[in-house]
Structure formats: C-alpha cells, structure tokens
C-alpha cells in the first residue's frame, strides 16, 4: 500500500515501509526537513509543531499513516523559493524573538496558523495561541512582539 502526502506544496509518495514511522522522524530523516525538533517525544513542548491543513499539529506522537492526503507545511516551506523570509519570519528576526532557536520553527508555524485565522489578534489572543509552545530563553515577550508586528502583513478577513 502506498500513500500520498503533500509537504510544502510537493506531492510525496510515501513508501509502505514508512507508514508506521513517526511522522516527525519521516520528515527529519527521509525528507531531511530537520526544522521540526523532537524535544519531548510526548507532545508536551511544541518543538515538533508543523501545520496540517493550516492547523498546528504536534507530530512527535503521530504516525505517517495518519496523514494520508493531507497538506503539511514545515518551517522549510514558509520561506520564499528565492530565500526571502516570510514577513512573520522577518518579524521574528527584527524583534529579537530568536535566541537558541530550538523552539523557533514550531513557534513561527503556530503563529502563522493564528494569523491566517485571525490576522488582527490582541496580545492576549497571541499568548493564548502560543500557549502550547514552550520557550525557555525569551519569556515570550519578543515573540509576542514579533507576531503582533507581522499581523498587518496578513490579509484582514472579510466579516462573515
């Protein structure tokens, strides 16, 4: 049995032997997408976060076979093909939101999902959105600053 997976806009044919792998290992080892980190193995820290159909997902506790046909965005897929940073990434750089960098990929993706859904969040809503992503370096202050600074780059959603 084979399975297809869309990763960063690319169709991936998943070999049968890989179906039972943890998806974080499949991304890191088979696809060399090492931005997602394996820091707790139990879904407690958020360092492995990627977006699945634009929703943050902690993939250290899930198998490849759980993601058939789904769209996965990893941190490697956020940057433009010419290497230009996404405005959210640029805001992280400019606001000093990066220290050791280990939580950064998961944090940026969680923030990206928030801003796609709610492009004008309050600081409290930002705090709430990144609640499950642990950072030991920054105290989150400059991360929240960065997300706030990037928000205007996301199109405001038409009122329903």
């Amino acid at each position: 049995m084979q399975m297809k997976l869309q990763v960063n806009g690319r169709e991936i044919d998943v070999p049968a032997a890989a179906l039972d792998k943890r998806i974080v290992e499949f991304l890191r080892e088979d696809l060399d997408l090492t931005g997602a980190k394996n820091a707790c193995d139990i879904g407690a820290c958020g360092a492995c976060t990627v977006l699945v159909n634009e929703e943050p997902n902690r993939i250290c506790i899930k198998r490849v076979k759980d993601f058939g046909g789904q769209r996965i965005l990893t941190i490697e897929g956020l940057v433009a093909p010419d290497g230009t940073l996404h405005p959210l990434q640029q805001a992280f750089v400019d606001c000093g939101a990066i220290q050791c960098g280990y939580c950064t990929p998961g944090m940026v993706l969680t923030a990206h999902a928030l801003l796609l859904k709610n492009p004008r969040p309050t600081r409290e809503q930002i705090r709430h959105a990144i609640f499950k992503n642990l950072c030991r370096c920054t105290g989150y202050q400059q991360i929240i600053d960065a997300i706030e600074q990037a928000a205007p780059h996301y199109p405001a959603r038409a009122p329903a």
Binding site: R28, D32, L33, T34, G35, A36, K37, N38, A39, C40, D41, I42, A44, C45, A47, T74, I75, E76, L78, V79, L85, Q89, F92, V93, D94, C95, G96, I98, Q99, C100, G101, Y102, C103, T104, P105, V108, R123, I126, R127, H128, I130, F131, K132, N133, L134, C135, R136, C137, T138, G139, Y140, Q141, Q142, I143, I144
Partner: protein, 763 residues
C-alpha cells in the same frame, strides 16, 4: 548592514528562523551508529556485576560499553574527580549510567538497554542534606571521609556585638527546591573518527567545548590535540550543559574510537531529566539584627546546599552564595557558615544564577520583614542599608573603580512601575474582592564573571583577509544567547568597519586557545574584552603600515566609515584596499587578543577579599493577584532595570532579561523536580512545568548603561543578574496581597481564609 540599521542583529537568525540551522541531532553522517545510556533502578548500591551478554547478543547491537572499556580515566570533575563516566564501584544516584548500548539504530539500542542486568547490593541512601552531615550517616564517597564536600565562611566584625546593638533580631528558616534547566534541546553528541589523522571530531550540545575536550581526552587517554570539539548550534544551556554534556560527549567519543565509526547519542527527555545536574536546593537559617533606626547591625546565617551524588561545581556555587549572603547591603558584623553536601539525590551543579537565586529569595524577604518590624517601608529600609559608591562589602571589598548603581536601578524601577502608589493598594488579605492585589520588589548586586573561583582569561583572533573580509573567532561559546553576534558587533565597532565584512568562524578547540567556559555571565565582558584588545592590536599593525602614506604618526591614524584616514578625512584608504595593500607589503593583518580578568583575592579562612573585579546592579518588581478561593497567582506586569555597563546588542540584552525573569517566575511559582525515595518522578515537560506564555505577564525592561572602566568595551553582564530576583519579588508581592509570607520555594498557595475585621497582616 550597519549596526544602527538593525533593531536587532544576529548572525544566526536567518538559519534559525528558516529551520536550516543544524543542531546536533540534525547532523547526518554515513555509517553512523547510535548509542543510548543504561540506568539502574538503584539509588545507592554497591555494584557486584553488570551483565551485558543478552544485550550484546541482540540483533543490531554492536557493542555494550561499561567502565571496563575506558582506556583512560573513568573519573573526572572540575574540582574533585569523583564523577564517573560509567558507574564503577557504586551507584550513587538514580541517574548514574552503568553502560552504553551501541547499535545500528536508536530503537534497537533502546530495546537492548533493557536487557542489561545490574547486580548490586543496595545500600542505605542518604537523601536529606542535614542528615548527611551527621557523623554516622552512610557515606556517598567513602574515600572523601565525610559527606561534606566543602565549607565556606564569612567572618566580619563581631556578630555578638552586632546583635547587642540591635533592637530587633529577626530569625527565619528558608528552603528552596531542586529545579531543572529545561533547555529545549536535550544533551546530544556526534563523534566522528577522522580517517586522515585519527583525530576525534566532536559535535555536541555543550557550553564548554574546552572542558568537553578535556574530559574526552582524559577518558580516552589521548592528548588534547587528538580531540577537536567543533561549534554546533545549541538549543539552550542556562549553565546546564557543562558536566553532563561533557560526559555524554565522552561516552560517545569512546564508542566512536573503539568502533572506528561515527556514533551519535541524543538524549531522550526522560534520560536528560533523570541524569543531568540541577540547581542546588538550599536550606538557610538566617538571623538579622536591626536597630529602631532601620540599620542592619549583624547577620548570622547557616547555608546547607544539597550537592547530590557528585561534587560538580558545588564549592564554586556555594562560594558565590557565601560572598553574596547579605545581598547588596552593608553589614559590619557577619558570621556565615556554608556547607556543600553529598547525598544520593540528583547531582546539583551550575545553573544560571549560580548560588544567588537561593540567597536572594532569603535576603529580599528578610529586608521586608525587618522593615515591617522597624515600621518603615521596605524601600526606605533598603536605602538605609544598600551599597553606595565607596561602600565596603561584607568581604571587605571597597566598591570603587566602577559606578555603584544600586540606588539608580532601584529608583528606575520604582518610578517606572509607580511602586509607592501601588503599594498603598495592596490587599494584605483584606477586602471583599476574591482577587487580592499585591506588588513586590527585589534587588541584587552580583560579582561579575568567575571571581576568585578560578582562572579567568579569554582569547580572540581577528584575521583580516586580502579582500577586506574578516574572520573572527573568540574563545566564548554561542549558547543561544547571541554571543557570536555581540562579538562581531564589538569587532566592527572597534575597527570602524561595516558589520557585513565580519564572518564569525565556526569555532574549534583546535584553533582558538582554551578560554574557559561560557558561564558566569562572562561571555560579553571576557570575550568582548578579548575582541576589543585584538582589534586594537590589529589597528596598530595597520596604522604602522599606512602612517607614512597618510602623512601622520601611527597613533594619529583613525579607523572610521569602513576605512582608515590620517589627520583629515581627505586622506582616506578604504578598508578592502588597505588589506590588499598589506598583503603586497607582506604584512599579515592578524591579531590575537587576550583579556585577563583583573586581580581578585580571597582568604578561605576569614572569607575576606576582593571577591570579584567588578559588580552589576539590578532591580525587578512585579504586580500580581492571588485568588482567595483557589490560591491561583496571576502575574500582571513586571519591570526590570539592570546596569549592564554597556548594551552591545540592546534587543538581545532585553531578551536575556525577559528570559531571566520568566525563568525566575517559574522558580518562584511552578517548578520543582520531584523524587520519591531518591527516584525522580518529574521526567518530562508535562510533569515538570516551565512557564508558558499564559503564565507570564507583559514585561518592561530598562537598560542602565554605566560603562565599566575595567571592561575594554565598557560592557559587563546580564545573563544571570536577570534570573535572580523575580522570585523574591513575587514572594514579596504575594505577602502584600495575602498578608502571609512564604519561606519555601516554589510558593504554593491553597485557599486563603475569609477576610476578618482585623486579621493577620492587618496593620
């Protein structure tokens, strides 16, 4: 990019924000083997045998290593060589490693690790540090003769006289907990035997490449030149990636050397938490004598630090606690006895703050308690006793030669947070509202760098190329704090060149001289000092080469706007052009800078001396509410002001302070490593709770810059000062909110009593 163009500049930001930065576990090598540690279920036991046969026979297992396989020395330590790379004679704590399984995959190794059988005779475990000090206590290290690792004292003035002068004597007992660094990246190492010359290349997550190299070389019985530790991005350290990280590298290197293949060892979170050293839990008995006028006349204290199973840096951690045992206050009569103690608990070692967070929790509450007894505000009490320009510390050091900015830091915070006005609104457990409001403050001074703890010097190499590009390497390590960026900014500023000329060279222990460990908040002052001195030497070489051409004396050559010029800006040579010409003149634009810490002194018998060559000053305040029904604490707002000497990369300095405050909030309210009978039960980030975004308040940071004359760049320290006072500020705020004081960390509040007409805490 010029410095001013960027609000914040980091040489590694692009790589980290795009996921391209390769941390140790991200590195791939062909033919790599995987190693995992093996623990036992013992806490204290004499080893009879370790049976590895079943594990070794498992398919895919290549070898199982134990102490027998160590060709060099199995015991190491920076102070006492008692830390085993593999447990040999005894198991001394739950995190002791008895073996390492090396296999073709990590899964196979993990599975086989369960097949290793440890036969041992259980011994009585000593888990209470006070009990460990008793004469009949079981010994953790028999050859040490007792469980007391070290003692320190301060003897100043005459405490008996001092207490006689006092109108009040306040006496309290305090207790602090074991906490975990909880760096997001666990310990990890890859070791690759280089086929060309047999040198062992080590890539790993550690904050001390040079001590790692030392431990690897000693373990393998090879020369330092046979091991090359190569700088690799590190996912956080906070003081925690020294001893344990080095041992992980040593075990990995041993496997790689014996098997002739690359070996990777990446710690699972539960192994990391079980084995890695922690912050020392303290018990402190504190007596303070004060007069009606609010002057401290005497302090007597007894400090007991649980160092766990191995010495690690317990003598140095407790030394800082001793030197700073009265906080930033002048006390004429002091009698302090400090004990570092072996137990069968998890090893305690270096952690950001290094013996100060425990003591500040004590002192900054004691001054508030004393002020209340005297009947003046805590702020006024602090003002009457704090260090000022020219004050003499409790160890007899005169504070001059730098700006003593204690009151400046205090005033900055008071004004920013409107402290006095908000203090009047504190609930003290009274009122109808279920949310009890409180504000609290704490301040500290801190000796910069290692002090009389040890050898303190640092190297930097600036190697300008013929095209005007510059290679910079410094003996400090990038722990994630932005050390490399700070070094590059200092280099660019000193040389007057564009920042984009500078490439920070990937560090290697085979290139830069051993400059010690990147701890003690010494990175910027020591590394930056070395860079500044290297740049000044390079400038004198360049000036000598071009002074004739510029028609001036060498000392008149000026370095600015990416070039050099003489007395007037008209005669200017661009930097790249100058470097090309130097190549033709056969002069190398190369310089080695060495910054040595100024002299410090210490008398171990009296606890007197010039303990540190300079000091920093900081103050933090916090507002919070406590829910009367649930005891839940909500942090509302926090403010910090720190004198950093000079802020080289201001946004990164702020980042250090925000992060330090967050960690201190966790220390105050949430974090605790728990164990049952010596067996740790908090083994992952679900049960060990570090602060999340919702736990923290908005924070405001104010940088105070009083450039320090003894620092070549004017810059001092911030990593640890930021992390040592929010917990006591929280304790003081909780007291102001509830009318109840808490003497143990973390502060745990249950439901509070209903307000009374005039209950406890009522004035």
């Amino acid at each position: 990019m010029s410095k001013s163009a960027a609000k914040c500049w980091r040489n590694d930001a692009y790589a980290k924000v795009t996921g391209r930065a390769k941390f140790t576990d991200d590195l791939k090598f062909a033919n790599v083997l995987h190693a995992v540690p093996v623990y036992s279920e013992f806490v204290h036991a004499r080893i009879v045998s370790i049976d590895t046969a079943a594990a070794e026979q498992a398919t895919g297992v290549v070898r199982v290593l134990t102490a027998r396989d160590v060709p060099g020395v199995n015991r190491f330590g920076q102070i006492i060589r008692d830390y085993r790379i593999f447990a040999d004679d005894k198991i001394r704590y739950y995190g002791d490693v008895v073996a390492v399984v090396v296999a073709e995959t990590r899964e196979i190794a993990i599975h086989a690790a369960q097949l290793v059988e440890v036969n041992a005779e259980a011994l009585p475990a000593v888990l209470d540090p006070e009990a460990a000090m008793l004469p009949d206590a079981p010994l953790v290290h028999e050859n040490h003769g007792s469980n007391i690792v070290n003692t320190h004292v301060v003897r100043r003035g005459n405490v008996e006289e001092g207490f006689k002068q006092a109108d009040f004597v306040i006496e309290e007992d305090f207790q602090t907990q074991t906490i975990e660094h909880a760096y997001m990246e666990t310990e990890a190492a890859v070791c690759v035997p280089r086929s060309t010359d047999g040198v062992l290349e080590v890539y790993g997550s550690m904050q001390h490449p040079f001590s790692t190299r030392r431990f690897v070389a000693v373990c393998l019985g090879v020369a330092l030149s046979e091991v090359e530790v190569i700088g690799t991005p590190m996912g956080g350290g906070f003081g925690g990636k020294d001893d344990t990280a080095a041992v992980v590298c040593a075990r990995t290197a041993l496997a790689a050397k014996l098997l002739g293949r690359p070996v990777k060892m990446v710690y699972r979170r539960d192994w990391s938490m079980r084995e890695s050293y922690k912050r020392h839990p303290y018990r402190v008995h504190y007596r303070m004598g004060v007069t009606k006028a609010g002057a401290i006349t005497a302090v007597q204290c007894r400090i007991v630090a649980d160092g766990g199973a191995y010495c690690s840096v317990t003598p140095w951690v407790t030394w800082r606690s001793t030197v700073q045992c009265c906080g930033p206050y002048v006390v004429a009569n002091v009698h302090c006895d400090t004990f570092g103690v072996y137990t069968n608990n998890v090893v305690a070692g270096a952690m950001r703050g290094f013996g100060s967070p425990q003591m500040n929790f004590v002192i900054e509450q004691m001054v508030e308690i004393a002020a209340e007894r005297v009947g003046i505000s805590g702020i006024e009490f602090r003002r009457r006793n704090m260090v000022r320009q020219g004050s003499v510390t409790i160890t007899g050091q005169k504070l001059d030669g730098h700006k003593v900015a204690m009151e400046q830091a205090l005033d900055t915070v008071l004004s920013e947070i409107s402290y006095e006005e908000k203090l009047a609104r504190c609930a003290h457990g009274q009122g109808d509202d279920d949310e009890l409001y409180g504000i609290g403050i704490a301040m500290s001074y801190r000796g910069v760098s290692l002090g009389a703890e040890g050898v303190d010097f640092c190297a930097a190499i600036i190697n300008a190329q013929a095209d005007g590009s510059i290679l910079l390497e410094v003996g400090v390590h990038e722990n994630g704090q932005g050390a490399e960026s700070a070094m590059a900014l200092i280099c660019a500023e000193e040389l007057g060149v564009n920042l984009n000329r500078i490439r920070y060279r990937r560090s290697s222990t085979s290139n830069i001289p051993d400059s010690g460990t990147t701890v003690a908040s010494r990175g910027t002052i020591m590394g930056g000092g070395a860079v500044a001195l290297a740049a000044r030497e390079l400038k004198s070489k360049i000036a000598e080469a071009f002074c004739a051409k510029l028609g001036c004396a060498p000392e008149e050559v000026r370095f600015k706007v990416d070039g050099i010029c003489g007395k007037t800006d008209g005669e200017r040579i661009g930097f790249a052009d100058a470097m090309r010409q130097m190549w033709q003149m056969q002069r190398f634009p190369f310089a080695l800078g060495t910054f040595k810490a100024p002299r410090v002194s210490w008398d171990e018998h009296t606890g007197q001396g010039d303990a540190y060559f300079t000091w920093v000053y900081g103050c933090q305040a916090v507002e919070l509410t406590v829910n009367r029904k649930t005891g839940k604490v909500k942090l509302l707002h926090a403010v910090a002001a720190h004198d950093v000497g000079r802020a080289v990369n201001p946004e990164m300095v702020r980042g250090q302070i925000y992060g330090g405050m967050a960690m201190s909030a966790g220390y105050g309210l949430h974090e605790e490593v728990k164990a049952h009978g010596g067996k740790m039960t908090t083994l992952n980030l679900n049960t060990y709770r570090i602060p999340r975004s919702m736990d923290l308040p908005e924070m405001k940071v104010i940088l105070i810059e009083n450039p320090d004359p003894v620092s070549p760049t004017g810059a001092k320290s911030i990593g640890e000062p930021a992390n040592e006072i929010l917990a006591p500020a929280i304790a003081n705020a909780i007291s102001n909110a509830t009318g109840r004081r808490h003497f143990a960390l973390p502060i745990r509040l249950g439901a509070l009593p209903e307000p009374t007409m005039c209950g406890e805490g009522c004035k």
